[in-house]
Subunit: 216 residues, 2 copies
């Protein structure tokens, strides 16, 4: 879109903050991987955590693994976009990397759960919140069981969580129905492009129109 | 999208109410014509007015031309989505046709000015408001003068109006930059499709998710 705007685009070329949440089993991970690996315009935000790395996890790829002291220091320095505590471990989103990538014009994707997403929306109303769901709960149920790798207990926990999350969908900007992965990726991109043309994300462009009109 | 939703889509298959406003000279008319003539999914709302038909204007095509009594009767019966009075004449949007087309699944386009648009948004928050602008005010100025058919006085009036309208852009859902007509048409369609995936326009789908989850 860069060449379409003339002067104005130069002022609105900053990337957006894209939050992806959704039901466990909705296919968020695959979706995010495809967005990142196939589209250069996106950058992935990597969370910071105090939990121990699991086998195969690499520091700086899945997470930044840090000590409790280091995490709390980052909180104290206001270095996180959001953070939360689960089962005794901290999880959070480092601010610096996100801001740096956005300034470069990248749309930064954060895959985080609902509470963190809403924390961010409160502080950054121009963040674009997407909630990923299968086309039906029947399908969600099928996908959760179909994995075959999880115990009934784990599946139950995920369903319980989905029952809480469903009541917060209204707070999201877009519902992303993940039926076919390819069209889902295209839809996400098109929702983002649309969201960028909302006045709250085109403040500089609107200001420029006002300014130029006032001169006539 | 119909086949992607399974059960849910049946409940959200109603068309949307699309409001198109914008600066005089932004190319709204051409844009709306192209949307309507090339895309079967759209229906055009025709306004009702008490002003006299101009040469070449046909009742039921440009406007429904009615008497003052008839117009006031329609107001009294709550038969208009919005109405306003200019230079002693009434202008308004008949509700019945819009509702009928939306129920058939058509996205109904209303090309109306800012005050009417905001009246509608207040009553129907799920209406999708689009504000059409050229890529710059320089270009707007060029287009206004370039027509060559208008007197300086008329151009001045339009600029004065633009100066008022620019302060209401923030109330719109999307800014539509009309540079190249074809890409502009595609953008409008894509903003509408995105807007339809916002929770406020997917109330039935979200309710269905809640309901089905509660059964598990």
């Amino acid at each position: 879109m860069q060449n379409k705007f003339g002067k104005a685009i130069k002022m609105t070329n900053q990337g957006a903050l894209i939050i992806i949440s959704g039901f466990s089993g909705a296919g968020k991970g695959t979706l995010v991987n495809k967005l990142i690996s196939e589209h250069d315009r996106f950058a992935l935000s990597i969370s910071m955590t105090t939990r121990n790395p699991r086998e195969g996890e690499v520091n700086g790829r899945e997470y930044f693994f840090v000590s409790k002291e280091e995490f709390e220091k980052t909180i104290a320095e206001d270095g996180l976009l959001e953070h939360a505590c689960y089962v005794g471990n901290y999880y959070g989103t480092p601010k610096a990397y996100v801001k740096e990538q956005m300034q470069k014009g990248k749309d930064v994707i954060l895959e985080i759960e609902v509470q963190g997403a809403l924390q961010i929306k409160e502080k950054y109303p121009d963040a674009i919140l997407m909630f990923v769901t299968p086309p039906s709960i029947e399908e969600l149920n099928r996908r959760l069981h179909g994995r075959g790798t999880e115990s009934e207990e784990v599946i139950e926990k995920r369903l319980t969580r989905a029952k809480e999350e469903v009541h917060l969908i209204e707070k999201y900007d877009y519902i992303v129905v993940n039926d076919h992965l390819d069209s889902c990726v295209q839809n996400v991109i098109s929702y983002i492009d649309a969201a960028k043309m909302m006045p709250l994300r085109q403040v500089d462009f609107v200001e420029l129109l006002k300014e130029e009109l006032s001169k006539l």
